[in-house]
Symmetry: C2
Subunit: 207 residues, 2 copies
DNA sequence: TCATAATCGAAACGTTCGGTCTGAAAATAC
DNA sequence: GTATTTTCAGACCGAACGTTTCGATTATGA
């Protein structure tokens, strides 16, 4: 009955408005970490490319490692979700896997400034310096494998759950191997050939 | 007739003898970079773990990036060569591939201080900060693929060279995906299951 | 013994690092 | 208008960075 917001809702908070867009800033942080690596990315560079003053960065994100984790979450939502969603199910398992690897190669080669994958190429390195980041890496890896396993289980008789799990791990390993190869500058066409062979071989073996 | 070294060969050079073992020092550098990453490894830490004075390190290796490249070469010779040599040919293709992945998993999980692979997990990150390191990464990746391709071509009718090349790329991608997964702390048993499934599936599909 | 040559140990180099602080600026609330 | 609240710009902090320098040390060659 009574509105929870009696008067005009304060669309804008009290003080001076910020001169940057938080979403775009996080996208920029993703690009900096992705291109440069975690340890090699300086807070100065981050501030510049995020169009964000230093004080605001620390007030909003806490510190560099927290910002890195926020960037990883952003990357997962904006870049990895579309890749995982290509798994469908939309068509046959083989068609969906082909679509999945299409997206994998596209993500890893789309921008020549940021080859490879933020998680497979950058977080994997940083995981050596921080236990929290190692757990983060494990969680991100496991999430993709669970998504693949879920897709596989729709085309598999129940009971061979262990095999389905291993196959999900294998398909994810191929995806990461492709991401890594892209980091060295390998053209997309070469990676597509590898992905195509993977789908053909692994689907053929499954029957 | 006349000896090239007339008098007693100078086993020891002129000045003060070094107080460190260059080979062991390089092995220690491998461990530091492998555990910590390139950018996050400080020269202070390197000197301490290499049992090497700072001045000697710079006189012997030039600078940090050159030392990193020397450590990568050392790693390739001492750690990667045994893995590649497991490809034989010694037995059937399938047996040799099983031995190969056995070594891959062992390398990536043997020491819990240095999980994963120096090239796949550390150089791949550093490749984003230096064009020279990106080329180094590409060369190291290509070298392994060439070795696999060579092994495959012994069991393949000539002519489908492009397919053999793609299969080598795929087998290498699986190996790298496994290395990456080890970086997050995955137990060796899980990785062996993935590797076993890879060999079974890909060999089955090849006939 | 004395010159030569190499390494060692440590201090010092200037730079950059991640992080904090302060006062001016720019908005709303009253 | 004034008070309040938030952000901004930039100086500032001590610590750590990669690298260089230099005198002391410890060996060999003559």
């Amino acid at each position: 009955m009574s509105d929870a917001v009696p008067n005009s809702p304060p669309q804008r908070s009290r003080g001076r408005p910020r001169g940057f867009d938080p979403g775009a800033a996080l996208d920029a942080a993703v690009r900096v970490f992705w291109r440069t690596g975690y340890a090699a990315a300086s807070v100065d560079t981050l501030c510049r490319e995020m169009h964000m003053p230093r004080a605001s960065l620390y007030q909003l994100f806490g510190n560099k490692e927290d910002l890195f984790r926020a960037a990883i979450a952003r990357y997962a939502e904006t870049r990895l979700v579309p890749v995982a969603e290509a798994l469908g199910p939309r068509g046959s398992l083989r068609e969906d896997l082909e679509a999945f690897y299409q997206e994998v190669v596209a993500l890893a080669t789309r921008d020549r400034e940021t080859p490879g994958c933020l998680i497979s190429c950058v977080l994997a390195d940083a995981a050596g310096s921080s236990a929290a980041l190692r757990r983060e890496l494990d969680a991100r890896f496991s999430a993709l494998e669970a998504r693949i396993e879920d897709r596989l289980s729709r085309d598999t008789a129940p009971g061979d759950a262990a095999d389905t799990r291993a196959m999900a791990g294998l398909l994810a390993a191929v995806a990461r191997g492709i991401m890594l190869r892209a980091r060295s500058g390998t053209p997309a066409a070469d990676l597509h050939r590898i992905a195509g062979l993977a789908v053909a071989s692994l689907c053929a073996a499954r029957h």
